[in-house]
Amino acid sequence: MLFNSMEFAIFFPLVTALYFLLPQRWRVQLLLAASCLFYMAFIPAYILILIVTILIDYVAGIYLERVQDPKQKKILLWVSILSTCTVLFIFKYFGFFTGSFVGLAGLFGWHLPRPIIGIILPIGLSFHTFQSLSYVVEVYRGNQKAEHNFIVYATYVMFFPQLVAGPIERPQNLLHQFREWHAFHYADVAAGLKRMGWGFFKKLVVADRLALYVNDVYGAPRSFNGLQLTLATFFFAYQIYCDFSGYSDIAIGAAQVLGFRLMENFNTPYYSMSVSEFWRRWHISLSTWFRDYVYVPLGGNRVSKNRHILNLMITFTVSGLWHGANWTYVIWGFLNGLYLIIGWLTKDVRNRFWNAVGFHEHTLARKATMLLSTFTLTCIAWIIFRARNMNDAFYVFTHLASGWNFHQIATEQFFLRQLPVAFAAILVLEIGQLWNSVVSVPAFVGKIPTVARWTLYASFIMTIVMFGIYKQTQFIYFQF
């Protein structure tokens, strides 16, 4: 079920009402049933895959706690990880790896038949797989007690607000919340609804409108001029941010309405002064996941310089592969790793340069330059991420600066009259974010007299209603 659907508009108030009406002993069951319904709205049969993953890690968690021998414990952990990852591999990567292998064999003159498999990737598979893996690792490390109640564990993996696109929660943060009593609290419900409203603005007004342009241009880049390619790339940076952070806002808000606290997933990433900072502000639940379960176990930065570089490259390349079974994602991850390493290696030189030209750390010009250069580097990486293949990405790179025609901006789906709306939406987003970085907007608005406040809220909702795009486009990150 999509958050931006009529079904969800009926589903969510009903589930919320039932949740608060039921006694605690039935609430988890309700959440599990609701989560199953939510997931089955996509492809019902795929819930079986989810059940397999849940069963593997549920049993593994219990045995990991029981087994005392460290060696046996480690074997059990790896069996659990490999089993869970096998499911992910079959549904997400089998075609990619076999295709790549056949391609590679072709280079050596072995013409192997390309296996034809018609598997549709289950929505959000990478997310709940990672959440499940996080649970077994934490139980293995002794940071989390094994959950013996199957219903509670299944609800932890399937909790509908964050089931298909995160935030990827850690058991220490979420699991215990299913055992706690959440009273109906107006302030929490209202805050959750406001958060959802902001998420819907990002998704429906910004992301989905920009998507019309981006899809047209990146669908056939050779039909568009340099200006259109540049604009589409700029729009994609905002589209993917608003799509994904909008989803996270709706997820966090929906959970908050029910009394749950989910972790933050984004922290205005385009205000970063370096790629390293960007990755601390973008998809936080995933980057911390990779940090805790891949980068640190590899040795992190407490190793030789070369090994540290290798660790970073492995982490980012695997992170790229997590995003999709396509070489564009792998190269995108690799490129980000490269950015980080170059940034790390040149840090001292760059500092000396800035100081030499008189731009000290807190100079506005230095900050602006760093912010813009980080955004540009990110956009360059987004080109690879969004392109259908590397040929298209190369074409976009080489034609960004050519044939700019200001009389030819519109596309088939994106008429010229939509352009001011798109820019206005981005402007509202930025004003909202900047304002919130100075003072908490919800707290500020909360002090306004009720009539004025409600007028403001109503105007905002009507803006979403009137300027939103309702083509029921999926959230980009569902595919991952």
């Binding site: 605690q24 972790m263 009259r417 309702y470």
Partner: protein
């Protein structure tokens, strides 16, 4: 940069501190019973007050949505110019002409009723529909007939895709203000059963089904603002010169295109003929000019044209084929392979008006003759 944190720096941010309302449960799965009854009552009252506030707020939103919907609909129905101006004239029964032109976007862009009026001396109007397949064109024609006096002649413009029926309603917002009309609503419901949402859910037809901000036009219309006129007696000329549409189409379809001949499409055409016959309207089929090179790319054109001729003969409907029009090979007269530009439309309108004038003259002559013959045979009838 000097103090820039490293990748390893821990990120353990949680936006929300643990809520004070989250309390551990006792063994019975109920809140640990430290609260007194008074506290519980106060909490309950607060909860109900909160629920009331949330309901009140969403009730206001619903009322606003209904009010906005009513304003937009009213504004669009008040619009006097452009597309909605044409639709309002039709739905308010203010057209009442002798020669009516119906069809798709090719009809809208090809027939200038002003030229037809000046040459034939008969009043004329164009009710062509952009993006409409034959089923929608016929439905709109029926809506016209329900609200206006019957025309003497209907020129129905044919297309290569005439026998293909609609998969979806193109630009449904064009019909949203008029969903009260049963003919139109039933036709739309057959194409898209979900059209009820546009009728009954406030704003659905204006914001979900439309991305062109037609609601802005509606609000402007509500306050008396009319858009610039670009429809002339229903004729909406295409001012652009030859575009690269055809080149792109050829690139995407190097082996040509096929248009299905659907039984449903045949039934719609027969329904059109029946409707005209029942209303005593002279129906004329016209295949307006199409760029010559495109004609060769339409793979089942011979079959489609055979059906046009069959229908024409079977039901005695004149069929004027302008496939070999004198300018069919001249890009100066076209915007793309399917649509004439303004210059092309003016020349074609003259040609078709002259043919119509001749036809009407001979038709009235033969009608007079048959009336005279009738009088001679039945002298007491008068």
């Amino acid at each position: 940069m000097a103090n820039e944190p490293t990748f390893d720096e821990t990120l353990t941010r949680n936006a929300f501190p643990a809520s004070a309302d989250v309390a551990r449960l006792d063994g019975n799965g109920q809140p640990s019973a430290a609260q007194t009854h008074a506290e519980a009552d106060a909490a309950m009252t607060q909860s109900w007050s909160g629920i009331g506030r949330i309901f009140s707020f969403f009730a206001i939103i619903v009322v606003l949505a209904f009010a906005m919907n009513a304003m937009i609909t009213s504004g669009l129905r008040r619009t006097k110019t452009s597309l909605f101006g044409v639709e309002n004239q039709i739905m308010e029964g203010k057209v009442n002409v002798q020669v009516l032109i119906a069809g798709s976007s090719r009809a809208i862009a090809h027939y200038d009723p002003r030229v037809i009026e000046s040459i034939t001396g008969h009043t004329a109007y164009n009710v062509g529909r952009n993006g409409a397949q034959t089923d929608m064109q016929v439905a709109f024609l029926k809506a016209y007939l329900a609200h206006n006096q019957k025309p003497q002649v209907v020129i129905f413009n044919l297309d290569a895709f005439t026998f293909v029926t609609s998969r979806d309603v193109f630009d449904p917002v064009e019909y949203t203000p008029y969903l009260y009309d049963p003919t139109l609503y039933d036709a739309l419901r057959k194409i898209n059963p979900g059209i009820w949402k546009s009728k009954y859910i406030p704003l659905y037809g204006y914001v979900v089904e439309d991305m062109n901000f037609s609601w802005v036009r509606g609000l402007r219309g509500f306050f008396g603002w009319n858009p610039k006129e670009d429809f002339f007696l229903g004729f909406n000329p295409r001012t652009k010169q030859w575009t690269d549409d055809f080149a792109r189409m050829k690139e995407n379809n190097p082996s040509g295109v096929r248009f299905e001949i659907q039984t449903k499409g045949m039934n719609v055409m027969q329904d059109l003929i029946r409707t005209c016959q029942q209303n005593g309207i002279q129906l004329i089929f016209v295949y307006s000019p199409e760029y010559t090179e495109m004609q060769a790319l339409e793979k089942d054109r011979p079959e489609v044209f055979k059906l046009f001729h069959d229908l024409s003969q079977q039901f005695n409907v004149p069929f004027w084929d302008y496939s070999d029009w004198k300018h069919s090979n001249d890009q100066d007269f076209f915007q793309n392979s399917q649509h004439l530009n303004l210059a092309g439309a003016e020349v074609f309108s003259e040609d078709v008006a002259n043919q119509l004038k001749t036809y009407l003259a001979s038709h009235s002559q033969s009608a007079e003759n048959s009336q005279l013959t009738g009088r001679l045979n039945h002298p007491t009838q008068d």
